[in-house]
């Protein structure tokens, strides 16, 4: 147990040294680190609870995604059956499916074949699951199209991916530094912005779908009439500013997807804040056509199903650029421009969890954590020295290396250090000491049993190590489960605890033994000083 070949000893020391060295970048500023090779730049990231900042968990409205998918299928059915000149009745969305009744029995097979083409294998090129996006069934001329679970899941996954891109653009447009945006589970997105104290504006910006449409105002009746009776089938009633109601055609002239730029500005005459926008060539052509045909009539600018303004077209707009005005404040105009530039979200987002820590509390927590760490370490070091003397010193060396190695591993992983994480490290110090205590107590026992010093040390090690392994693995299992189920700060605790167990196993099995072996070889002790 106490014999090490030269190579093995060198290997152990080298491993410990290299791992410890990985902790170095934490002691240098970002500025200095820039000149280091990139593999050496990895360092520990402070969690939001320590550096301050805002963490938002957003949920994609999967219901809206489902509805949209159903509406899309319904539109496709209409298009396909019309193209095929198949007469049909009763096209409707019922529950989770789209139904359509084919009038003539002879058309059913033809229609079924055409509609089946709508259904595609799920998963693109890698779609080896054999599942299709839509289940198409038929009974007595009634064709039912139901989006499959796999198809919906795929659509939701796409919606989340798209949302992440849009969120990234919006957050960047707001000028926030180093945001992290990542998927959480099936339909959630975690947005973390260090240093953000008040996330109100961010929430406002992210809470808007920003679906912009240009549509015509339906003039066949007034909005009051439409509310009193029924709106025409191709129009709907939408709210405007100040409780006003508009009757707006469902047909979209140009959508926000055709915008290439939007900038806040001021109207030249009224001097009120406006948003200036520019269409791409397709949008510009569509807009020019529409405005040419409808001079003198009002059109509506609709954002998220709300009418921002409904100006009258005075002359055709051919240049592909225009202006949105709607009693904005400067901030509102600014935000709208950001939203339009970044694009529309595929589905609404809701904030389901928010955790914001101000910079004051973060700094306080760092100080408290450091303070506790120093005091805790100091107490343990002192206690070990008092209890075990020289061996206590060995234990303290092992624990110090252990802590340095924890920081090294955390840096290698670019892990996030949270306040519970610091607690984990402090606790690890206690646990790491335990390995040494187990060994020393065992050695004591063997000495009492009458063994010679060297024999006792050897036997103490070999017996204690089995126990150390068993007891640490159980704690490690708890840490692993914690990592798996935990989020945020709790996960930080699990990480440091888990790494701490691994490094303390390493030091107990190698470093402590090595120190002891050298000590025995140098001094040839007759008695054990504990």
């Amino acid at each position: 147990m106490l014999f090490f070949t030269r190579w093995k000893a060198a290997g152990i020391l080298l491993t410990a040294l290299v791992v410890c060295l990985f902790a170095l970048p934490n002691f240098f500023s970002e500025h200095t680190l820039r000149y280091w090779p990139s593999w050496a730049q990895r360092h520990i990231v402070l969690g939001l609870d320590l550096q301050g900042g805002s963490s938002l968990l957003l949920e994609v409205d999967t219901n809206a995604v489902r509805k949209e998918k159903l509406q899309g299928i319904a539109d496709d059915v209409l298009r396909i059956l019309r193209q095929a000149r198949v007469p049909f009745t009763g096209r409707a969305i019922r529950g989770n499916s789209v139904e359509v009744r084919i009038t003539r029995e002879t058309d059913v097979d033809n229609a079924l074949g055409k509609l089946r083409d709508l259904s595609q294998p799920v998963g693109g090129i890698l779609g080896s699951t054999g599942q299709r996006s839509i289940d198409v069934t038929e009974s007595g001329g009634l064709i039912t199209l139901t989006p499959s679970d796999a198809g919906l899941a795929e659509r939701i996954r796409q919606a989340v991916d798209q949302s992440i891109q849009i969120i990234e653009r919006r957050v960047n447009e707001l000028g926030l530094v180093e945001p992290t945006i990542q998927r959480e589970g099936a339909d959630r997105i975690l947005v973390q912005v260090p240093g953000l104290e008040d996330p109100s504006r961010l929430k406002q910006i992210l809470g808007k779908t920003a679906k912009l449409d240009f549509r015509m105002v339906d003039l066949s009746m007034t909005s009051e009439q439409a509310i009193a009776t029924r709106p025409p089938s191709d129009a709907e009633i939408l709210d405007g500013e100040g409780g006003q109601k508009y009757l707006i055609e469902k047909r979209v002239l140009v959508s926000g997807g055709d915008l290439v730029d939007a900038q806040p500005g001021f109207d030249q005459r009224s001097n009120e804040p406006v948003v200036n926008f520019r269409f791409n060539s397709v949008g510009a052509r569509k807009f020019a056509e529409a405005t040419q045909q409808n001079v003198g009539k009002p059109f509506a600018i609709v954002l998220d199903n709300k009418v921002i303004s409904a100006p009258v077209i005075r002359e055709p707009i051919l240049g592909g650029s225009g202006q949105i005005s709607g009693n904005f404040t400067v901030q509102q105009a600014n935000d709208l421009a950001i939203l339009l530039r970044a694009g529309a979200l595929p589905a609404p987002l809701t904030v389901v969890e928010e955790r914001t820590v101000g910079p004051g509390l973060g700094q306080d927590s760092i100080n408290a954590g450091e303070h506790a760490a120093y005091v805790g370490a100091g107490l343990v070091v002192f206690f070990m020295l008092v209890t075990y003397g020289l061996f206590g010193l060995f234990a303290n060396i092992a624990v110090a290396v252990n802590v340095a190695m924890i920081f090294g591993v955390l840096s290698m992983l670019s892990a996030t250090l949270t306040l519970p994480g610091i607690a984990g490290i402090v606790l690890t110090v206690g646990i790491a000491v335990d390995s040494n205590v187990l060994i020393y107590e065992r050695i004591r026992e063997e000495v009492r049993a009458g063994r010679t010093a060297i024999n006792a040390i050897d036997a103490g090690f070999s017996r204690a190590l089995a126990t150390i392994l068993d007891s640490n693995i159980t704690t490690f299992i708890a840490a692993a489960v914690l990592f798996y189920i935990g989020t945020g700060p709790v996960r930080g605790f699990a990480v440091t605890l888990g790494i701490g167990i691994l490094t303390s196993l390493f030091t107990a099995f190698t470093l402590t033994r090595l120190i002891m072996a050298y000590w025995v070889r140098m001094w040839r002790p007759r008695t054990v000083p504990i």
Binding site: K203, T350, G358, G430, S462, A466
Partner: protein, 322 residues
């Protein structure tokens, strides 16, 4: 081992009391599990006027809320219960409070947990605990005999129950970090139990004819000094965290302190070990004690070194069953 006649009834009583506490007194669930809003604010000028703040917030009609001094006299913790109307309603509530309190305070911490997340967090937490106990059980079953695994599990559930009772009694916030604390207590008290079990296993192999109570006593005594030293060092670490670690992790460290120091130690000595008798470990051995050196059980110098340096599980298991 005679103490088991006292310790078992005491533990049973305490466990029942803890369970009763849980059901009658309940836990002080934090917003992680019931949803709602938590704000820690610090007044910029002088100590906080709680009465005035209470008035301001109650005029917002946000339902149940609590104000609480938190550490320094100008630190206030505001908790607002979950608003009806889903996730978006919680956000509006925070916005209202922010507007009402304005710039007179610094917002040190704002946490909002919506209803959809809180139910998930609770079920994840519970699943996590069950999963951890299960995984540890399987591991112990592999490394020891099934009686040891079962004994350790009973001991640990006992630990968790008592700790939850403690949390109920002291009204400590029960949130995600509490789950972390419970899991750590679980791991740690197991650590302790395993150390003793390890020794019991070793003694079972070595002293084939020692009576079970004597053998348990001897094992506990052999590991006692280690237990004391280790618990002292861990207590020192925890004490430092409790005193200097700040408010944010105080409930965490207080729970840990109770679970690790008070319950964990007691359990491994007074519950986990004697329970092995009832679970039938060593039932086949004769009642006659072979060796009376119970206080200082030692390896005879001539005994061959039984444990291999790096234990390979299969071999170890085979020995244990012999």
């Amino acid at each position: 081992m005679r103490f088991r006649r006292i310790s078992f009834p005491i533990s049973a009583l305490l466990s029942i009391a803890a369970i009763l506490l849980y059901f009658l007194h309940g836990l002080n669930f934090g917003i992680d599990f019931v949803g709602g809003t938590l704000m820690e604010v610090q007044t910029k000028a002088g100590p906080a006027d709680l009465a005035k703040m209470r008035g301001t917030i109650s005029s917002l009609h946000l339902g149940d809320f609590q104000l609480q001094q938190f550490g320094a006299p100008n630190d206030v913790l505001i908790r607002i219960s979950e608003q009806p109307g889903g996730d978006a309603a919680q956000q509006q509530a925070v916005q209202k409070v922010r507007e009402a309190l304005g710039n007179e305070v610094e917002y040190r911490r704002v946490e909002v947990v919506g209803p959809s997340v809180s139910t998930e967090l609770l079920s994840y937490g519970t699943i996590g605990l069950v999963l951890a106990i299960g995984a540890i059980l399987v591991y112990l079953w592999f490394r020891f005999e099934w009686q040891f695994a079962l004994g350790a599990m009973i001991a640990n559930v006992h630990d968790l129950v008592l700790t939850v009772g403690f949390m109920s009694l002291t009204r400590i916030d029960f949130d995600l970090t509490s789950i972390a604390a419970l899991l750590t207590i679980l791991g740690y008290s197991l650590n302790d139990t395993v150390v003793i079990y390890d020794r019991i296993r070793e003694m079972l192999r070595r002293y084939k004819r020692m009576s079970m109570p004597d053998l348990l006593n001897a094992s506990i005594n052999a590991t006692l000094s280690r237990s004391i030293v280790t618990h002292l060092t861990v207590s020192l670490s925890l004490l430092a965290l409790l005193l200097f670690g700040g408010q944010a992790i105080r409930s965490f460290t207080a729970t840990m302190m109770f679970g690790v120091v008070l319950v964990g130690t007691y359990t491994s000595v007074f519950i986990a070990s004697p329970i092995l008798i009832y679970l039938g470990v060593g039932r086949t051995r004769q009642g006659e004690p072979e060796d009376t050196e119970a206080a200082a059980p030692v390896a005879p110098p001539t005994a061959p070194s039984a444990t291999p340096p790096k234990p390979s599980p299969p071999r170890q298991r085979a020995r244990a069953r012999r």
